[in-house]
Amino acid sequence: MSSSKSIQPVSHTDYAKHGLTRQTLLDMLRKMIEIRRFEERVERLFLQEGALIGPSHLYLGEEAVAAGAIGALNENDLITSTYRGHGHAIAKGVPMNPLMAELFGKATGTCKGLGGSMHVAIYPEKGSMYATAIVGSGVPIATGVGLGLQREGKRRVVMTFFGDGATNTGAFHEGINLASVWKVPVIFVCENNMYAMSTRADYAVAAESVAARAQAYKMRSAVADGNDPVSVYLAAREAIDAARNGQGPTLLECVTYKLHGHGVYDKGDYRPEEEVEAWLKRDPINGLEARLLKANLATQSDFEKIEKEVAAEVEESVTFARASPVLPFDQLAKYVYVM
């Protein structure tokens, strides 16, 4: 197996050549803006308004990964997510109202308030099958979901997300090995945001890259620019096609960066200032907008329209969440077992 494929940047003049329509690009932009504005609002609800409590891990800065990778899936394909899952959920089409309500712990939430932020992305109605808060544990689970889809024989695939830290767990290595042995249709998407909490990947990942780990398991791999949705989309599309065609799984590493820290209360001040500044200049939303303008595929007023609609959607979700009831405690017992 050759080394990881590195996805070369695609110039805005070549979008059409790569089969990227204006609609696809605008859809990805919209998802990224939805995620950004949702997360900014969530951050304010935690830090300024004190309306939300508990652990919450924001997707700020990583929007291009979810938008690009999930953007390349069909609607009936599946994903599994993690405790940093708000972005995956939005990209997969989960409405904001139940997402925000879940963060408030309300009965109208995606998980009726029983899951919280770390499991909010569980929404099988839209093919978002699970969100685990145990780092790495979603990898073998995705392998199993892939087995189900392989048996089903309808050419559906499952895409699973995890971070660089997860690739140091045993579950990751056992899970991708088994996926490769069974050639299941799974796309393993690593969001390499370069830190597991405060531990740097260049310290903790004893490999040339996350993607390089795939070679040990005879698995196809690629590295995409996780701040460029086009790069992620093209890499994901290739992996998805391979999985659909029975060629088995791919490990797709998307190199990206968190705008803020690990969790909502973490300022991330252990990161070198110049590193943070360099990544801020590579903001995925600004980057895509600039290229869409250059390519004459969109205008400033297109962006303003999206922003306006998204802002209304976010505010509506807060209103909805606040007005929603909490599940009565005496109903909990019926959720422990399927009766």
Partner: protein
């Protein structure tokens, strides 16, 4: 009635459920080509092929995780973990993922899979290949825990477990695979959550699980010769636990012994004793006694292992203390 071994009864259950439901797939170490370390999967690879009888690498975390995922993905997996000791390697998938999925998704997710395993206490396998620690699993709401003690129950309970919509930890006893017992031809299931009253008496109630059921029955026969008669009850599943049947017996006899192979501290006996005290304290004429393994790792030496294990003699001694 025809007789089958416990292992063959399990195999019949797997085979019948695979014929009945194409979603049932098996996965585990050595289950296909090698037909299982205990030959429970004998002939199944040939009959159903490698798509449904899936050999895995030695990857317990991935086996359990893939079973969880396959259940999410529409299958009904039956995963085998060769020794119960190895369940600690995949405990995260069972206890922290599978058991909570239905609850923390607000009832949306279902993970119907069976994790079969066995414990080898009595087979001279030493400290790392003999452990029996079912209480870990009834400490985790969301799981069902099944402990068959006869070929009849092994088949009927496994069929019921495969038809469950919840994750089931199905714990077999390695000591029982070669025992024979009556297993009727044709379809039957044993519902989870029903005690089997194996024998009735009036002086004492003996609750026993898995391998110790045979020991309890042997003890009851001996005690009867000495004029002490016992109810012998096998709960068959400890989650759910059919407490009502146990309470009914205790209210009649006023005395209770709980026999099981796990260590005494925090084990099956502890939990059943606590529940009986809470519900039927006034009916007890004597302290509740537990006949369990001592609170120490399992010794290898065959002589020491025999001394370590609960057996009929230890149950008789406990009974005599209570009915003295």
């Amino acid at each position: 009635m025809p007789e089958l071994t416990y292992a063959d009864a399990l195999r019949e259950a797997l085979r019948e459920e695979m014929l009945r439901d194409p979603r049932v797939v098996l996965m585990g170490e050595e289950i296909g080509v090698f037909e299982g370390v205990y030959k429970v999967t004998r002939g199944l690879l040939k009959e159903f092929g490698p798509e449904r009888v899936r050999d895995t690498p030695i990857s317990e975390a991935a086996i359990a995780g893939a079973a969880v995922g396959a259940a999410l993905g529409g299958l009904k997996p039956v995963a085998e973990i060769m020794y119960m000791d190895f369940l600690t390697i995949c405990l995260d998938q069972i206890a922290t993922n599978a058991a909570k999925m239905h609850f923390m998704s607000g009832g949306k997710l279902r993970v119907p899979f069976v994790l079969r395993t066995q414990y080898s206490l009595g087979r001279v396998h030493g400290a790392q290949h003999s452990q029996f620690f079912p209480s870990i699993f009834f400490q985790v709401p969301g799981l069902k825990v099944v402990l068959p003690s006869t070929p009849y129950d092994a088949k009927g309970l496994l069929k019921a477990a495969i038809r469950e919509d919840n994750p089931v930890v199905f714990i077999e006893s390695g000591m029982l695979y070669r025992i024979k017992g009556p297993v009727p031809d044709g379809e039957y299931v044993v519902p989870l959550g029903q005690c089997d009253v194996k024998k009735t008496g009036s002086d004492i109630t003996i609750v026993a699980v898995s391998r110790t059921v045979t020991e309890a029955l042997a003890a009851a026969m001996k005690l009867e010769e000495q004029g002490i008669t016992a109810d012998v009850i096998d709960p068959r599943t400890i989650q759910p636990l059919d407490l009502a049947t146990i309470l009914e017996s205790v209210r009649k006899t006023g005395r209770l012994i709980i026999a099981s192979d796990d260590v005494k501290c925090g084990g099956i006996g502890s939990e059943i004793a606590a529940q009986v005290v809470e519900e039927a304290f006034d009916s007890l004429d004597a302290p509740i006694l537990r006949v369990a393994s001592p609170d120490m790792p399992i010794p290898f030496s065959p002589t020491l292992e025999q001394a370590y294990m609960p057996n009929a003699q230890k149950i008789i001694e406990a009974a005599k203390k209570l009915v003295g």
